[in-house]
Subunit: 198 residues, 2 copies
DNA sequence: ACAGGCATGATACGGGTGTATCAGGAAATG
DNA sequence: CATTTCCTGATACACCCGTATCATGCCTGT
């Protein structure tokens, strides 16, 4: 083994520089040179570890996904009751603190990029949203079985709707239309409605 | 007056070329030269009518907003019942046909741009979302007064939630996670839930 | 100790960007 | 008819982009 330097550590350092720029100045400002400067390395090094820019973008996106997942697991913590799990997952996505604001902003930056790339990015990074939606639906179904949700509710539609709503609420917060707390209040209201047995 | 050519018509022609590119290839592909080619005019002309690129971007955004508003008014049509009005407004935003897909995609392209511009774009174009949300809330309140919505509901939160949900659903459709029809079905389900008196 | 390969620095290339400049033609006004 | 104003074409500038090339250092295994 060579191990002159920690390869993975370097890659992480560079990819996170990219994410930092994407968060603060947008993805279009994340040029190879800017990333190199931000990471405190030479342009050549960025090229060395990620041959092409697309490679760097994809790697950074994967790391961003991992960060979000880690955050969700942290927020779920030791919660067991379905309602608490659902609440944790949904509210941890809302841009209410610095970390989630960063993650949300960066995801939004990638979103526009993905829209106009013919699925080049899709094969990698997979779809967190769809698996997440399935997980949410499962939690809701459990709650429904326990009588905490009206039996006539369509939990699949409810899960999809809630996830989309959180997504949209996040956009409005990022757009400055409302605060994170207000968004959270709206989400809470809808969760209360869902978990109401008449 | 000179009136050698129709000024406004030229501006419209160029701005719509910009919107067309933003829809099909993304905003980052909408360079001055590309817009000129797409509009079938010279680069100089684009510069002449919109001195700066920012000016062009803003003008095109304003036109996009007008297009969306025109579409909404068309969809509302002669509907009078609050529920029908609300349904029309929300569902006409979903990317279910070519026009709404175009508008939604283009708005998404602008969204990333607005996120990293220090409110330069905000003063212009105003906030359609906030006024729209207020309008929705008013409609819901009317329906509530007529007994079509449970009196205990918070119509303000419901309006905000629905709008955010439609926004999020649109993103998922654009992202290819689900079809426009599926999104519409989810929206319809939630509207049914809202307009249920127990 | 020495060869080999991994790691990195300096620099260049072709192309695309937004914007500016200069010149000329056509139409309307005096 | 002359002249001023509006409109348009050609071209240039300075800059930034992603990528490639060449050269060289330094570590490591033998």
């Amino acid at each position: 083994m060579t191990a002159k330097v920690d390869h993975e550590e370097r890659r992480r350092q560079i990819a996170e520089a990219l994410l930092r720029i994407a968060d603060t100045e947008g993805l279009q400002a994340a040029s190879m040179r800017a990333v190199a400067t931000e990471a405190g390395v030479s342009l050549r090094l960025v090229q060395y570890y990620f041959t092409t820019k697309e490679g760097l973008l994809l790697d950074a996106l994967a790391r961003l996904g991992a960060q979000l997942q880690a955050r969700m697991e942290r927020w779920i913590g030791e919660e067991r009751a379905p309602r608490e799990v659902v609440t944790a997952i949904l509210s941890c996505i809302l841009p209410t603190d610095a970390e989630s604001r960063r993650i949300t902003r960066t995801y939004a930056a990638y979103y526009a990029l993905v829209l106009n790339d013919p699925a080049v990015l899709e094969k990698q990074a997979a779809q967190p949203p769809v698996v997440l939606e399935g997980f949410l639906a499962k939690q809701l179904r459990t709650a429904q079985g326990a009588g905490r949700i009206d039996a006539r509710r369509d939990v699949g539609a409810a899960a999809a709707g809630l996830l989309a709503m959180v997504n949209g609420l996040g956009s409005s917060v990022l757009g400055g239309q409302r605060s994170g707390e207000e968004a959270l209040a709206i989400l809470t209201y809808h969760l209360d409605e869902l978990f109401r047995v008449s």
